[in-house]
Symmetry: none
Subunit: 232 residues, 4 copies
């Protein structure tokens, strides 16, 4: 089963800092930079992007106010970086899943696990992406929107492959199916973030790897809510 090492994915700065670094086991630059990103994730998650002040981020990161502007040109770039550096890791992982020769069920379960696990390992980041970036995406550069769309496309490809293989019903619109799948996952997470509804397990916050939730969501999506006979 394909997995994504979220911790590493979270520390990767591939997109923002594509130059290979000689030796930055702990170069001060990356140190401070990461601290800013982590602090920003926490503050954005807590207060929302618009209510968060740059000074809050600096305080949370325990660095000087002005230093934020050494590493980022403006507040928005912090948000964009949070998104890009980590979303690309997710896309790569999902892409790997989609290209693998696992069964459709396994693929979807892996994607669900990737996403749910992201919330477990980095709840702040997921909150920011779910609650702020998608909301801001209307205005920000269309590249961001496209990046979000890419996740849809990857999942839609899995669906289409399943339909081509005769495993999934061919009458269903892949786009709709994909929205249903990702939407289900998103709201499962959101309802936990916001504590909207109690679920039988793992309510209220991130806990151990939540493969059972992933399995249940995929189960619902694949086999439906109805009992076996499914008369109509």
């Amino acid at each position: 089963m394909i997995e994504l090492d979220w911790t590493r994915a979270m520390e990767s700065t591939a997109l923002a800092d594509p130059l290979p670094r000689m030796d930055r086991a702990q170069s001060p630059r990356s140190d401070k930079r990461e601290r800013i990103l982590d602090a920003a994730s926490a503050v954005f998650a807590r207060d929302g992007y618009h209510r968060a002040r740059v000074s809050d981020i600096a305080r949370e990161a325990n660095i000087a106010y002005g230093l934020v502007y050494h590493y980022f040109t403006n507040k928005e770039e912090i948000l964009r970086t949070i998104f890009e550096e980590r979303w690309s890791g997710l896309l790569d992982a999902v892409d790997g899943v989609a290209r693998s020769d696992a069964s459709v069920e396994e693929k979807l379960e892996s994607v669900a696990a990737l996403i749910l696990d992201g919330y477990r390992v980095r709840p702040d980041w997921v909150k920011v992406v779910v609650l702020d970036i998608l909301r801001t995406a209307r205005f920000a550069d269309p590249g961001q929107l496209r990046a979000v769309g890419r996740l849809f496309q990857l999942v839609a490809r899995i669906v289409r492959d399943g339909q081509a293989a005769g495993v999934l019903r061919p009458d269903l619109d892949p786009g709709l199916a994909c929205s249903a799948f990702l939407g289900a996952l998103e709201l499962v997470i959101t309802s936990r973030v916001l504590d909207l509804v109690e679920t039988r397990s793992a309510a209220g916050g991130p806990s151990e790897p939540d493969r059972s939730t992933a399995r249940t969501v995929v189960d619902i999506l694949l086999h439906g809510l109805q009992t076996g006979a499914r008369p109509r």
Copy 2:
């Protein structure tokens, strides 16, 4: 099948019914008040709550700046009012659905149709709710959060009733099922709002009553994506 007359539920005035009525029974107070709410919905939907300026709302509503503060204590109260006055209409309708003696499938389809139809009839309002309120309210306004939770509870009740009646699989967590259902709907709408993915019909914006989408979403949720002995 239970339906919600969104136009009435919205207490719409100018925007939905732009023809000036001869017998404008509306008191002048509520007239202007509604105009502000409609204008705010439009502006928030277009620019997002935080980017929208109160002066924009006033201009859009064709009223004086200060009048906004005659009817609302501040900008946030406008957002809260938009949500509350209309969400309660939705809750009432869903409650009616839940209490009816239709089949589970019919109930879920009605709920889906209610929600999707809201987007068709009042895209601005749905955009505001989906993009700003559901993501901004967070922890700030517990009343708002509770109102959102109530929708979950109503749907969860439908699910539980279905399980009790033996129509729905008893092994599934109703909370999770309900998140999956509403999440699917939400992302279907969001992906249209943001134009994230093309679906076979009704992509990119509101169109005719979208019962087919409702039916498909419920179909997926009830019978699953997988092929099998699920005649329709």
Copy 3:
């Protein structure tokens, strides 16, 4: 001993409404007008002129918002009217005292009693004059300042007469003496208004006619704080 009927003086509208009215035992005009003035006195006394809103005055007076502007051209005119209509009564009374052939001691005691009694009967009005009008007087029309100055002049005349009669020490500047006298009275009142210091009697608010305080203040001013021998 000369006394001023504050209650009547307070209801006199001589300055602002010099035309003899045919019959206004209770004409609605004067009724509302007085209510506004009373309400304004109360609100100004409580919140201060600048913090008081016209709407507060209207609410306190139990009349419609806009009606205030039927009777007064603007907020400042309310303040001016409060001052003028009632200050002129005080000036007349003090003038009567000054012209009388009572002794200096009696005159000063009467003036002190007039002022202290004003506070007893109409604490709001005195608060407004003491706390707001003198403060605003810097900017408002100089006539107001002159009206305040007239009280000084009347008292100064009493002092000068006393000096001419050989009753008061001729070496003292009448202006200074007069400031000391009125200042003492003012701070006695203010310290009660603000509850700054506890005095042996009548602390905290208006009570019965406070002739004893008047007598004590004049006693201090005339005979000094020192014990009889007054050695130096």
Copy 4:
């Protein structure tokens, strides 16, 4: 005789000591901060607290608008700070006077001189305190009221000590005596600030050290206005 070095007590910078010092040991922070306080004193004294705009203060201080909010949370805090930082200096000085073993007469004369000298050295500040703070504080800020009350208490203590020593008449209420004393001083200053009455000297504005006024006021208060066996 105990004196208060107002210039030092004021921690004055630019206005009182306009010559740029070579060794400006002042940290930049306190430098700007003081400039704001001095500018605010000037503007408040000229226009009154409520009419003064924060932008006026910034212009007067020759700094950027927003910097005011770097040092003070809001306009009111500027007023409060002006009062507190300097009133405490006065209180300390008066306290020193009260504790000294000078005669009652000397003590009161010193207090009068302290207060009158404050007006001579820092007319702006005194105007602000007299015209805005003492009349605005009211019931709003209990801390401020308490600070004002402390002056009363210190003076009342001097009076009581004098009574205990048999120098002052025991029949007089110390609170009243103290109000009379401070009130006399206050109105002497106010009448100069507002140019209400001409006194034989020092009319209309601050001039040389005004010990003679202090002596006269104390003379009046101690020995009274009346002629009699009061050699001096």
